[in-house]
Subunit: 221 residues, 2 copies
């Protein structure tokens, strides 16, 4: 038992995990194994420990529930409506994670019943206020494509310009002119040719590129 002179809320982290695969923007959800909302799909997350930072806690939950680690994570928003959890007052610090499709290796989850990737178009109804969180994360992602290099976080180490353009088109839901896209992307000076090419299918091979500063999300223009 833990005692405090004044009432304290519980604090959790929830993580909205996106990837791009099969020409779709996908979302990682877990099925809840316990009450409340048992059997409902929800965002991975859980209670913060008192001796870990918020982002550390988010990464721990991410690893425990999904086996995903070492990915890009940014704080999204903090949700604290009084009645958002039926058990007690719970404030959640939501994070957004982007992972390259080649990093997807889901472990057997420990806390959760099941883990699954859902297309944004056909995601199930979610527990708590998680739909609201997902909507905000999605909105922010779309906005950030325009003014930052965040799209690189979906790419594997080496990728072709066509693959990169696919990511933009899938998330923004609009076709882009191939020549203009390439001109724009190369002018940003954020990717470089690796020298390699990808031969895949009955056509001209594509040059491979890699990100120049993989650890930084640059603000562009």
């Amino acid at each position: 038992m833990y005692q405090y002179e004044y009432p304290h809320p519980a604090v959790t982290t929830d993580i909205v995990i996106f990837t791009v695969r099969d020409k779709q923007l996908k979302l990682l959800l877990i099925m809840r194994g316990g009450e409340p909302f048992k059997g409902k799909w929800a965002l991975p997350g859980g209670f913060i420990e008192l001796d870990e930072d918020l982002e550390t806690g988010a990464r721990r939950e991410l690893a425990e529930e999904t086996g995903v680690s070492g990915v890009y994570l940014e704080q999204l928003y903090t949700y604290g409506a009084v009645d958002r959890d039926p058990r007690e007052r719970v404030i959640t610090v939501a994070y957004s994670a982007l992972i390259p499709s080649d990093k997807i290796v889901l472990q057997a989850a420990t806390d959760a019943e099941a883990v699954g990737w859902f297309s944004m178009d056909e995601s199930p109804t979610l527990a708590f206020d998680h739909k609201k969180i997902v909507d905000m994360a999605h909105q922010r992602l779309v906005a950030k494509l325009d003014y930052s290099t965040i799209a690189f976080k979906f790419m594997p180490e080496e990728f072709t310009l066509s693959e990169l353009q696919d990511v933009y088109e899938i998330i923004l839901r609009e076709e882009m002119d191939r020549r203009n896209f390439r001109k724009w992307m190369l002018a940003l000076d954020q990717i470089k040719e690796t020298g390699g090419e990808r031969r895949e299918g009955a056509h001209r091979p594509a040059k491979l590129y890699s990100v120049i500063n993989p650890d930084i999300v640059e603000i562009i223009k």
Copy 2:
């Protein structure tokens, strides 16, 4: 005494309050009346009640400590480093408030020893990690001037184009061309002439404008 099966952190809100006055961007600070950091300047804020939403709590603290109410408030970021408060684990949800200079009427503060406006150039050393919070709020404010109509939140109901331009120049710390500024601002279609004019000084009177949608911060491209 309040008891929990698992340890809970304390949760506070802190508010970075900006206004523009005397050709400077100013920050509202309170002097702490109790430990820790007694006698140090800090952001207004305090513990969240279990029966109030986060923003409600922020507004309550704002009113209690500074007498300011009914202003623009947006969530900034949540800070939760393990050691940010020497007493116990405290997670703070930081908000940013912008207030028009004509709304500044500081009450005698209840919780605080003293309340004061500080120019961003000469603000004192702050308690806790509040400098970090202020820096982030400042950065965000500068960024938002470029892609939103947030600057209107500093303006009184009626204002002249020169006054509005002053706000931009003060916050961005750069001079802007008068003609281009007016062309740009009027093309945004976010303000309208009220019909009135302001005669003030030995020169041509300026037309007064007001914001068309005062409740919405528009994203402008």
